[in-house]
Structures are given as structure tokens and as C-alpha cells.
Amino acid sequence: MNGLTRRRFAQLTLGTAVTTLAAPHILRAQAKPRAVVIGGGAGGATAARYIAKDSEGAIDVTLIEPNKTFTTCFFSNLYLGGFRTFDSITHSYSRLESGYGIKIVHQMATAIDRDAKEVMLADGSKVPYDRLVVSPGIDLIYDSVPGYSQEAAQIAPHAWKAGPQTLLLKNKLDAVENGQQIVMVAPPNPYRCPPGPYERVSMMAHILKSKGLTDAKIIVLDPKPKFSKQALFQEGWMKYYPGMVEWFGPDVHGGIKGVDVAEGKVETDLDIFEGALLNIIPAQKAGAIVTDSGLAGDEKFCAIDPYTMRSRADDNIYVIGDASIAGDMPKSGFSANSQAKVAAMSVRGDLMGSKVFPARYSNTCWSLIETDDGVKVGAQYQPTDEKIASTSTFISQTGESEAVRKTTYEESVGWYAGITADIFG
């Protein structure tokens, strides 16, 4: 250990000493400090697992999640494209329970009483906490596309929360016939990704093409003038699906006026687009529990301390994943998993006085364009006083060799196995 490092360790130890001084009132008050996590997705399940694993039973960990299984948004497009089964992207919480002693409560968290430090459940019961990690993901702002609603989503699925909506979209995709049209309304920024809209377009096109439906079309109506990995996707669409995919930005369609799901129509300034299948992806905000409990203020997402993921509004609460304002980090499962580990470490520091190391954040997102043709984009981040800031980035290049693209796809398969093991144990 060199001099600089020793100094840093001394600082860390000092930081630990301060938190240790702050912690005893919790330790005195009850046998074990309690960490409660709301939401069993990539953020919440990772946070619960890391708090439980690294505290080795010293912290009582409860995970509140209404669903018995979790279907990942990442790779849900690959299910649509027939590259994965639905089962292979659906995970149980059993190992978190049996392997890490996490108490799983399959109920909806309806409210947070921040003064009493309790989470209200749908059945009226309460779960007290010393530290709370909130990871509810997104809620959809249905009426950001006029005419769209939760009911309309039963006809024109968003499939932006993986599960029944994904199955519905798959059924409808598989029913598309030659000569018919799919119309996707892409989401405005900021949006949860994955599932990436443009990977989804690629997977839809893959299905149409592999069934020989060469006269079927996919129209993308985008409120954004450009999108992530645009050059890579457009290169891929031209190469594999010529004439099948048409993407219109706002300078072409002039604005999305509304949708009539019963008629199968999307109206824009330019024209009315008809689709046998409409995939409407509206604007997004943090899960309601974040906004309802005042953690987001007037914002759609929750401000956090970039060094710890602690809520700016409440020192006892951490907000991670899609619901947080994570600076330059995208709203991906990878990001949520990365943020969860920072929050978990800070929670242990709060409750046990354990060492809190400087936060590290990273993200990589892979997309599949066609069989064995994968691309990726990624970045490394560092917390600053202002935000979680990107320090370096990379992206796949257009014109890469088949071998590189195949390796990238295989890597994404390996990543899926890795991250789901890291989330669910």
C-alpha cells in the first residue's frame, strides 16, 4: 500500500468512524437494524442481495415485490425475435430467500410514512425500516400520447414492463400477415432502455423476414430527432431488412397528435398511419410510490446524492434505478444493478459502520440487430457534486466484421447469465 493509498484508507476509516458514532442509537434500539427494499427488479433485488450477503445476517433485509417472478426487460426483445424463451428471461426470488435469508413480501407497497419510517402495504400492514431502498422502476404517462390509456394498452401494447404485456405483443407480432403494417410510437427522453425501441424494431423485422412476409412493414414514429446507436441500427436495417423499416423523426411527421387503438390508427401532422399492430410507448416517470411520498418534489424522477444514491429529500432513503435522476447514466437494468451496489454499501455503512468505498458506476447496453449481429454502447461514470458524470464512453462501429458482431452477441448472452446471477443469486 503506497502513501497515497494509506491516506485514502485513513480517510475511509475516518468516514467509517463518523458513521459508527451515528449508528449506535439504531443498534441499541433493537436486535438488528432493518433494511427494507421496495421493488424486486434489477435495482431492488441486487440491493437486497448485496445488503444481506455482505452484512452476513447482521442486517434484517425485507424485499417488497408484488410479483412472484420477475421477467427482465433486458432480452425481452430477444424473446419477441424468437431468440429466447419467455421462461429463460423470467426469474424467481427463491434463492434470495433460501440463500441469503431475505424476507420476501409479495405485496404492493402503497405508501411510505417517512416520519414513522414505515412502508404501507396493500393489505394495510406496515413494514418498519431503518434504511429504505426504493427501486420501483417506471410508471407510464399514458396520456402523453393522446388517446392512449391503460385499457388501450390491452389492444395496443407498450410492453415496456416485461410480463403479460410482452406476451401480448409477441402474440400480436406473430399474427401479422403479409401486406400489413406495424406502427411503433417511440418514447420521448428520458425513457427506460432496455427494452430498446430500435432493437425491438430489429427483432420485429427479423420475425417478419424469417416468415417471408416481405410485404409487411414497420413504421416508427419518433418524437425524438435522433436516437442511441442510430447509425448502427440504420445500417443494419438497410442490410438485413431493406424497405421493411421506415423511421420518421419529428421533422418529417411534424408531431404525434394521437392514437385510436380501436381503429388501429396513429395521427401525425403529416399523415394518419394505419397498423394491424400498434406498439405505443408513452413518456415515463418514476414509479408512483416515489412521487406520492414526495421524494421527487415537482420532478418526474427522484434527485439523489451522486456519491451514495441517497435521496436528496430523505437521508433514510435511497432511490436507485429508473426512478432516480442518475445524471449521465441511462435507465437500464445494468445501471440499476451498478447503483444498487453503491447504495447497498452505503446502507451497510449507515447501519453497521462498515467501510464505505468510493462509488463506481458503469453501464453497457448490447443490442441485437439480426442473428449473430450484436452491437454495444457503454460508459464509465464518476460521482461529482452535481451529478453522476460520464468519464469515458465507447460504441460499436458501423462496418464491423461479422466475427466482431458475433462475438458481441455472444458476449451479451454471457452478460445476461452474469447479471441475472448477480441480481437473483
Binding site: R360, T364, T393, G414
Partner: protein, 244 residues
């Protein structure tokens, strides 16, 4: 005199028989030459393997097991190497590294050992595999004495500062949380290489090679870009003791 007699000897033989003798001599010389060439080519090709495999019997295992005398050896039989469950399974099924089995394995490792932790994806070229196998079957300890002393395993100075440090496994465990989003702590390799149980020097060298673009991988370059000597030494220390 001798020369004359020899020529005379041939002169006494039938023309066809004499040609046959020449032919045999040439063929023998040719076989020897091609064995030698295969050995040389195989040694070149073995550079693909030697980031992970040591061949010098004087040295131990590295990321992969030592490959000296591998031909004819039962699978998973090198002492002290932490084999994957997949490799142990095929070994208990009786797999022996005959030339044929090795050829199949090198063609597509996962078709022979489904869950091998070897991240090498396979070699399509029949001739190249044959050369590597020829090299492996003819290598002798002498072949390495001079070579390994001179080279060490691929450039000794990279990451030297980190190698001289004692890594902190607690710090390494924390830093590893960034790695295990992709690399599995179980040591499974399903498209992303297994990194548990590596000798610390190999681990450190690999990360420095990503940092300095000797190994070209954008994600790993990014991840290693803000890891210093102490971070890398700590990660090496942590991952080396996993899966032991």
C-alpha cells in the same frame, strides 16, 4: 572407392528397384521435414494458447493447466489445477486427450466440454489444429529452457508495480462488484470469460494489457481505465482466491 562401389551396386540393381529406393529416401526426408515444419508452425500458433497455458514442465499451472505431455493424458488430471465442473464431468466420463479428442476440443471447445471455463472459441482451420497438436506431441523440456527464461510469459514488465504489491482482498471484493455484472463468481463462462482462480500475475498482466490496448476490448478498456496499481492488485488477490 566406396562411391564407385555404391554406384556399381545400384548399377547391378534393376532400374525400377533403384528408383524405388530413391523414392523411399525422399519420402522419409520429406516426412521429417514436414514434421519439423508442423512443429515450427505449431509453436507459432501456440501463441494463441500461451496467455493461459504454460508448457514448460518446470513451471506450474496458470489460467489454464500446464500442457506438457498433454497428449494421451486423461482430462482434468493435472494436479493442483482448479478445473471447471464441466471438465471434471467429462473426465469422470473417461475422456482422454488423444489426438482425435484434442482435435475435436480445439475445433469447438464447447461441443466437447459444454461448460468449460476455457474462453477460447475454437480454431476452424484443420491444418492449424494439426500443427498445434504436432507441436504439443513433440515438445520437449529442452525446447523451453532457453525460451521461457528469455521471454517469461509474454513481457514481464507490464504491470510490474502492481505485481510487487500485496493486494487487499477486502478492497478487491468491493471493486469486484463492478466485474461480476458480467463475469460470474461461480466461474461459469457462458460468453464472458471466467476470471476466478487465476494466478495473480496473469490477472494483473491481463488488466494492464486491456489498459494499454495490447488486448483490444472496448468494455475492458473502459473498466480498467480508472483502475490503478493498487486496485488491480486487489482485484487480482480477490479473484485468485475465489474458486480455489
Amino acid at each position: 572407392m566406396h562411391a564407385f562401389r555404391s554406384i556399381g551396386g545400384f548399377a547391378l540393381m534393376g532400374r525400377t528397384a533403384a528408383l524405388a529406393v530413391f523414392a523411399v529416401l525422399f519420402v522419409c526426408a520429406d516426412v521429417r521435414a514436414s514434421d519439423e515444419e508442423a512443429h515450427v508452425r505449431g509453436r507459432e500458433l501456440f501463441s494463441k494458447c500461451e496467455r493461459c497455458h504454460e508448457l514448460n514442465p518446470e513451471r506450474g499451472n496458470r489460467i489454464g493447466p500446464n500442457l506438457f505431455n498433454v497428449i494421451g493424458r486423461p482430462a482434468a488430471s493435472v494436479e493442483g489445477f482448479g478445473y471447471s465442473q464441466g471438465m471434471r464431468d467429462v473426465a469422470s466420463g473417461g475422456l482422454v486427450w488423444t489426438r482425435e479428442n484434442l482435435d475435436r476440443f480445439l475445433t469447438d471447445p464447447r461441443s466437447v466440454v459444454r461448460r468449460t471455463s476455457m474462453s477460447f472459441r475454437g480454431l476452424d482451420d484443420d491444418g492449424e489444429r494439426a500443427d498445434i497438436i504436432a507441436f504439443l506431441s513433440t515438445v520437449k523440456p529442452d525446447d523451453f529452457a532457453a525460451r521461457s527464461d528469455a521471454d517469461g510469459p509474454a513481457g514481464a514488465e507490464i504491470g510490474a508495480a502492481a505485481m510487487s504489491m500485496q493486494g487487499d482482498t477486502a478492497y478487491g471484493e468491493y471493486l469486484s462488484t463492478e466485474c461480476v455484472t458480467c463475469h460470474q463468481t461461480s466461474g461459469a463462462d457462458e460468453g464472458i470469460p471466467a476470471i476466478v482462480g487465476w494466478p495473480e500475475e496473469d490477472f494483473i498482466r491481463a488488466l494492464f494489457e486491456y489498459k494499454s490496448n495490447v488486448r483490444n476490448h472496448p468494455v475492458m478498456k473502459l473498466i480498467t481505465s480508472n483502475l490503478g496499481d493498487e486496485e488491480i492488485a486487489s482485484l487480482a488477490a480477490y479473484f485468485s482466491q475465489l474458486g480455489q
